[in-house]
């Protein structure tokens, strides 16, 4: 009964989405106030029904209703409760419902938080989001219904993929989807602006907080995914350039460009057409990512759904949404106008260059991801593009980007002077160079790539210090009083940029100084990595709720002193019999000690992998800082003050242009 209710709720949501996608848009075009006014209640109603459907699915999982195909294939009665809940979005159908749930949530959030916007704008934005929702609801109802029944019902479920039975997996998809789907708001704003012909600083200011919020979620989601891969896949890597990872990374790169471009549009009124194109692209890449994952055109560890019918549906939907938007863009962008002029050396130029680099990066990821598909389609064979390609492409693109990151925030709008910049930055450069030359020596051995990575990180830190010092130089009060007056959006930028520095340190140190030992260990054998010595004390059999495992004990010592004992596991899950490696990781800010069990050899001996990964947590720490920087910028007074001022302006909010 509950699954049928869920199904019914989805159909009702589709009806509301159909209304939302038409009436307010027509109303805005024809100036029918009553139709425009429908947008908000429809957005709320649509979300309530989707939320109800989502609740029904979660309930089916919690209640172990194995008469639902989705539950029977992705859950098991022995599965712990938290993973039964997470299993709701562990499958293709479930994750699509999660996607729509989030889309509905963002739509409702816009409906509730847009009191200060002109009715016309609200109607158009919500209408565009309604159109997108129609597509996804139809996709679910027609090709991947999460509530399909199974007759006769299964006695027990096939269990959730053991890889997904992990706390990281409970949070990774919702965060990531919040980011993906969140770009739909920036997209809807861009389309609404193109339709209405109103593309100005106000429009940029409205889109900015939504974009930043979505970007922060996406950053957090990607970070969690990377962290999950690190400790769950059992081989100590943190990024694999897997097509699905790339699918999330491309919108992130474009989203980053969009955030910066929006800042220029808001402050200087320039880059308008460019910003709109980025807003369209960021969401298009989110959709493209969905297509790549869901259609099975690429092989990937994540591609659990392969069904050409689904692929055709999403592709048609993609063509409609993206093609339509780009056509609208081509038709309307000339009316947008240029905006303020700026010189060849100015903050605008630096931001533009940063945008171009980010887009080039996203383009090369797209190329690397789709290259196997292109070759295959042209009958040139099937290949797998791996890290060698991406590593080669990325370093040269990121280097100038980081350099500009240091210069950009210090350059003046409109026109900056190179000699002046040189004066202000020469000490930052000198300090960075010295740090880069000396610091690797302190770490033990000097390596060119380490030195180079540290140079980039030091450059960000030193230029940030210069920036803060200059900001603190005020007429009134001391440096701290002056700094306290700086807006939160400024601090948001500082934190996010420092996050990049922390991230670079992490990557550099791991690449430069990691030690990896693969050894066969008998009970009592010792192995040394970094400063640590590990002794293998044998394995014991243990039982988990839905698995059995061999659990190894490793006594860790440093300079003869006992530090800790690590317990990696090799698990075999009851349903499916799939072996899983649970690495034991001892994390400190200066590095991780990572132990995982390979295969049992003979007589109690095991093949064992022991890694020392210096500074690896900095990689995720840096991402966390970036996401926090985004949130900090969001909390800026400016957005709230503007909201109040505009809401209070008599007639201003409802006047139609």
């Amino acid at each position: 009964m509950i699954p049928e209710l869920g199904n019914f709720a989805l159909i009702l949501a589709l009806l509301l989405a159909a209304l939302l996608g038409t009436l307010p848009l027509v109303g805005a075009q024809r100036g029918i106030a009553a139709w425009m006014a429908l947008a908000r209640p429809l957005a709320v109603g649509q979300f309530l029904f989707i939320a109800f459907a989502f609740g029904c699915l979660v309930w089916s999982f919690i209640a172990n209703d194995f008469s639902v195909v989705n539950v029977a294939t992705n859950s098991n009665s022995q599965l712990p409760l938290e993973y039964r809940i997470a299993a709701s979005w562990g499958s293709h159908e479930g994750s699509m419902l999660l996607w729509v749930f989030m889309l509905g949530g963002w739509t409702m959030a816009v409906a509730l938080k847009s009191r200060h916007l002109p009715d016309e704008m609200v109607a158009r934005v919500l209408g565009v989001m309604g159109l997108v929702t129609i597509g996804f609801l139809l996709f679910m109802l027609l090709t991947s219904n999460p509530f399909d029944r199974l007759f006769p019902p299964a006695a027990d479920g096939r269990d959730l993929n053991p890889l997904l039975q992990d706390p990281g997996m409970v949070f990774h998809p919702p965060l990531l989807y919040m980011g993906y789907v969140g770009f739909s708001v920036a997209f809807a704003f861009a389309i609404a602006a193109l339709i209405g012909g109103r593309l100005d600083a106000t429009w940029a200011r409205w889109s900015r907080p939504w974009t930043t919020l979505a970007w922060s979620f996406l950053t957090g989601g990607i970070m969690l995914g990377s962290w999950w891969a690190y400790y769950e896949l059992g081989w100590g890597g943190w990024w694999f350039w897997d097509p699905v990872e790339n699918a999330s990374f491309m919108p992130w790169l474009i989203g980053t460009a969009l955030i910066h471009s929006l800042a220029v549009t808001e402050k200087r009124g320039t880059f308008k057409a460019w910003t709109v194109l980025l807003a369209i692209s960021a969401f298009s890449l989110s959709l493209l990512g969905t297509f790549l994952v869901r259609s099975g055109v690429l092989t990937s560890v994540h591609a659990f759904a392969t069904d050409p019918r689904r692929g055709v549906f999403i592709l048609a939907f993609l063509a409609l949404v993206i093609g339509g938007s780009l056509m609208l863009f081509a038709a309307r962008a000339p009316k947008v106008g240029g905006g303020g002029r700026f010189e060849a050396v100015s903050r605008e130029t630096f931001l533009l260059a940063n945008n171009v680099l980010l887009i080039a990066a996203a383009g090369s990821v797209l190329l690397g991801t789709l290259y196997p598909l292109f070759l295959d389609t042209l009958n040139l064979g099937k290949i797998s593009v791996g890290p060698p390609y991406f590593d080669t492409v990325f370093v040269p693109l990121m280097t100038p980007l980081v350099f500009l990151m240091g210069v950009g925030p210090l350059a003046r709008w409109k026109e900056a002077k190179l000699p002046d910049l040189w004066q202000r930055l020469k000490w930052a450069l000198a300090v960075s160079l010295v740090t880069a030359l000396l610091l690797p020596l302190a770490a033990g051995s000097w390596k060119p790539m380490v030195s180079f990575g540290l140079l980039l990180a030091a450059w960000i830190v030193t230029t940030t210090v210069v920036n803060i010092r200059e900001r603190g130089r005020g007429v009134r009060g001391g440096i701290f009083a002056q700094l306290a007056r700086q807006p939160r959006s400024y601090w948001g930028m500082i934190v996010a940029h420092l996050g990049i520095a922390v991230f670079i340190v992490g990557v550099t140190m791991v690449k430069g100084y990691e030690t990896e030992r693969d050894v066969r260990m008998d009970v009592g054998d010792k192995v040394t990595v970094g400063a640590y010595t590990l002794r293998f004390d044998g394995t014991t059999e243990i039982r988990g709720p839905n698995y059995r495992a061999a659990r190894g004990a490793f006594e860790v010592s440093r300079d003869g002193q006992h530090v800790t004992t690590q317990f990696p596991e090799k698990r075999v899950y009851n349903a499916g019999g799939m072996p899983m490696t649970e690495a034991a990781i001892r994390s400190t800010p200066l590095g991780d000690l990572y132990v995982s069990l390979g295969e049992p050899v003979d007589g109690g001996a095991w093949s064992v992998r022991v890694y020392h990964k210096p500074f690896i947590t900095w990689i995720w720490g840096g991402c966390l800082l970036m996401a926090l920087g985004g949130l900090l910028a969001l909390s800026d007074r400016r957005y709230r003050v503007v909201t109040q001022r505009e809401a209070g302006a008599p007639g201003g909010a409802t006047a139609r242009s």
Binding site: G323, F329, A333, P334, I383, S384, G386
Partner: protein, 176 residues
Amino acid sequence: MSKKLLIPLGVFVVLCAFLLVGLWRDPREVPSPLIGKPAPSFVLAQLHEPAKTLGTADLKGQVWLLNVWASWCVSCREEHPLLVELGKAKVVPIVGLNYKDESAAGRRWLAQYGDPYNVSVVDRDGRVGIDWGVYGVPETFVVDKAGMIRYKQIGPITAEALEKKILPLVRELQKS
């Protein structure tokens, strides 16, 4: 309407065309020009014992498989369980060509996912791969007793390809 503004749309249309064609293709089926030709010879260092080598001459007189793999290759993980099973069954010797890979990473990969190979050899710079016409990883070749390539699987081995093509062919070649 400025033509420049149509560029994004144009790029997208081309992309869509590729995606549409890609949907209808079975990415696993590609013919090979090397079938029926003598297998290019090589002598390469072994992955696990770099001091030792293995060459095509050592394999003369038996039917064997050459599987091209790398630890960085995502699709290799997909076919690997099948290879491990095949390796356990000891139906046919499997030689692994560790292609453009770090040897340490390769060994680690095998330790984690299981080692189906009688021997893996190291093709660090991909030269042998070029001789064998390797487009990408993974690929699998069936070589007969006379040293001729009889079959080539491009992309991961599937259970179907193994049951219907590779194993019947191997049995037939072993009889002759």
